[in-house]
Amino acid sequence: MKYFGLIWRNVWRKKIRTSLTILSVLVAFLLFALLNAVGQAMSSGGAMTGAARLVVIDKVSLINFLPISYQNKIAQVPGVAVVSHQSWFGGFYQDPKNQFPQFPVVPEEYLDLYPEFVLPDEQLQAWKKNRTGAIIGRDLAELHGLKVGDRIPIQSTIFTKKDGGRTWEFDIEGIFDTTDPKGGTALLLFRHDYFAETNTFGDGFVGWYTLRLAEGADPVEVANAIDEQFANSPNETETSTEAAFAASFAKQFGNIALIVTMILGAVFFTLLLVAGNTMSQSVRERIAELAVLKTLGFKDGTVLGIVLTESILIMAIGGLFGLGFGWLAAEAIGSAMAMFVPGGIVVSTDIVLLAIAMMIGAGVIAGIFPALKAMRLSIVDALARG
């Protein structure tokens, strides 16, 4: 540390060059943070990241319905604590571009299943009294400026009402928050009993079941028990954890991770070249100076350390600013795309730690050859050349 002053002065020896290098490092880490955050948001499936919940869908395809009679049968499987159902309503608010999930649910069962959703009790009671009542998440309320007491028309692209209309009106009885920092709340929940009696398909079906495991139950055993029970019935099931379900869904978008990795690869390759070039230029210019340091008694290791630290320092300055801007950009994009990525786009601790490791790694790779060259300088030759 006692050489920090010397290193700092060396870093700024050529102000323009160092600034340009730092700026390109900044851009690289900005992209690194942003792309990783987007990649994680897409593959985690946002709100659906509960650990102890299983999802039961039709084996042939997610779009097929399951009979409502399955609820009691699933509830009797050992290891199942709570089970309830949801269906994909496929609606939009005002404009087809305003799509967000809406689910017909059984109010108390649903909130029991998702304890991270917090709804004031008086709002729950009001919802239970009103068949056409609905509750919405805080994110959705803020996105469209909705409040309790509003009447919200949702046009379904799938379900027609028995009176022939496709616009379903709901009274907003409550707004819920989430205790899960990664979870989003851009969704609307309304009552399944109202849905079942009003839509033209009838009331014997639901989209899928979600269940919470009892304490200590083995998810694999429970999933197998459920699927075996419905094997060879007209609606065979496929049970998986909520996380696996969300991940398999995200994989359908194609290999996002691969594309992100390719882009990052191109960025880092460029970055290393720029920084490595700066470092070797800088060492080349200072050969005489480094020889003087060695003449004064600086050890080989110390000279190596000084040059390496300089390289790491440049990476760290640019990288940390890049992470900061990346975080700001992720926040901005996350709120602009709240509909697509309900969990928001978060630069997680993992990404920050990985980025710091990459700054150090890139600093070492860019600086190691110039540093070795500096270390191996023969004093006599170098002074003669200088």
């Binding site: 323009i16 060059r17 340009l20 290098t21 700026l23 390109s24 851009v27 690289a28 900005l30 992209l31 792309l35 987007v38 039709d58 084996k59 042939v60 395809s61 997610l62 779009i63 097929n64 496929g90 087809p96 046009q155 692209t157 799938i158 022939g164 496709r166 060879n232 007209p234 065979e236 398999s248 994989k251 359908q252 978008f253 194609g254 290999n255 594309i259 390719m262 882009i263 191109a266 960025v267 390759f269 460029t270 970055l271 070249l273 720029v274 070039n277 700066t278 070797s280 230029q281 697509f340």
Partner: protein, 395 residues
């Protein structure tokens, strides 16, 4: 002419001594190449996706869908409604028979070959007019399915992307088993991602009674769409939307390709900024290593403008080389690269090829030139302003 000669002379000199500055110059070139590569690669996804979706779209084929449905999956039509569409004006007739195909569209989970994960593959029940209402669609292997049997034909892209669809294979969806008896192509369009069977068989297998989701209609001619639309919109027995196939598929393509663009342009912009810094760096060091040379030229009577312009030409040339390299790599590696993704609009898989098109490459090279000009400007100004006497004294 004087200044042109000077510029050419100085530029030529710069190019001749480029090898002396090979390290910094290649950094600038690689930086620009990376920008163009990423730009072309990302946007070629959007291009390829759009191309696949719009190739399917003919002007003289109409899709009739329940009104308000944004996708085939959400639509529903009864047999009576299908009959109304079939007998409506504007529909092409072959003798007594209307050239239409009433279809049912469901999804089945099949594993992808690439990552072994289950994907929503579109499974379409088609009527006997299926090949007539679609252009460029024909069997390329095997035979047509026999009506009434659990047989299916698979699109060329679906067969290459998903497991278990080889000719002669038997595939199981839930409790039903299906024989793959044929392979079809559709001119590279979206139908190639689908698997088809007899609509009556699919209705039975999925317990859909006698209901359909869409009717595809071959129009008598391009202008008869409005007649068909008016007839159906004013018929009280039916509540449908009518689109030409082209309208329908381009609106379906919009969501996904916008998403890719929203991702692609900002990334390119940020990388371009990074590349400008790289170019600036290399041009500054080029100017500083050539300090004496520039001063000598000035002392010999070369004007500051010719020094400035030639420096900018040098950086633009470097960027151009980088742009060409990046574009060439993008074309060689990504053009024709096949992937499949979940289309937002239809909730099903669409198989498509990356398309590195000529206009993408032009845009990429244009970006490279801009980077070169910006990266060269400030160093060029410095070169032009170099105090001659002082620089010469450093000799």
């Amino acid at each position: 002419m004087h200044i042109v000669n000077q510029v050419l002379a100085v530029t030529w000199l710069n190019i001749l001594n480029l090898p002396r500055r090979v390290a910094t110059s290649s950094v600038a070139i690689v930086g620009v190449a990376a920008v163009v590569l990423v730009f072309a690669a990302v946007l070629s996804m959007a291009k390829g996706f759009e191309r696949t979706m719009t190739l399917a779209g003919a002007e003289d084929t109409a899709i009739v869908i329940r009104s308000g449905s944004t996708s085939e999956l959400a639509s529903g039509l009864s047999n009576d409604q299908v009959l109304i569409v079939t007998t409506a004006p504007g529909v092409l007739r072959d003798g007594d028979r209307a050239v239409v195909s009433a279809e049912l569209f469901v999804l089945v989970d099949i594993r992808k070959k690439s990552n072994d994960s289950e994907a929503n593959v579109p499974f379409r029940g088609v009527g006997n007019g299926a090949f007539e209402v679609r252009d460029a669609t024909r069997l390329i292997a095997g035979r047509m399915f026999e009506p009434g049997r659990n047989e299916l034909i698979v699109g060329r892209a679906a067969q290459s992307e998903f497991k278990g669809l080889e000719l002669g294979a038997t595939i199981r969806f839930g409790r039903s088993e299906w024989d793959v008896v044929g392979v079809f192509e559709a001119g590279g369009g979206v139908a190639e991602s689908e698997i088809w069977t007899d609509v009556k068989v699919l209705q039975g297998a999925y317990r859909r009674g006698n209901s359909f989701q869409t009717v595809r209609v071959r129009l008598a001619d391009k202008d008869s769409i409005s007649g068909l639309e008016t007839a159906l919109k004013t018929d009280p027995r039916i509540d449908v939307d009518v689109f030409t196939e082209r309208q329908f598929y381009s609106s379906q393509a919009e969501g996904t390709s916008t998403f890719i663009r929203v991702l692609g342009y900002p990334i390119t912009f940020l990388m371009a900024i990074g590349a400008v810094f790289g170019a600036l760096n290399s041009m500054y060091s080029s100017v500083s290593t050539r300090g004496k040379e520039i001063a000598t030229l000035r002392a010999l009577g070369f004007g500051p403008m010719s020094v400035l312009i030639s420096t900018m030409i040098e950086s633009t040339l470097l960027a151009l080389v980088g742009g060409l390299i990046g574009g060439a790599i993008a074309y060689l590696v990504f053009n024709g690269f096949t992937v499949s993704t979940l289309s937002n609009a239809s909730f099903s898989q669409v198989v498509f090829d990356f398309a590195v098109t000529a206009d993408l490459l032009m845009q990429g090279i244009f970006t490279a030139l801009i980077i070169g000009l910006i990266g060269g400007f400030l160093p060029a100004v410095r070169a032009a302003r170099l105090p001659v006497a002082q620089a010469l004294r450093e000799l």
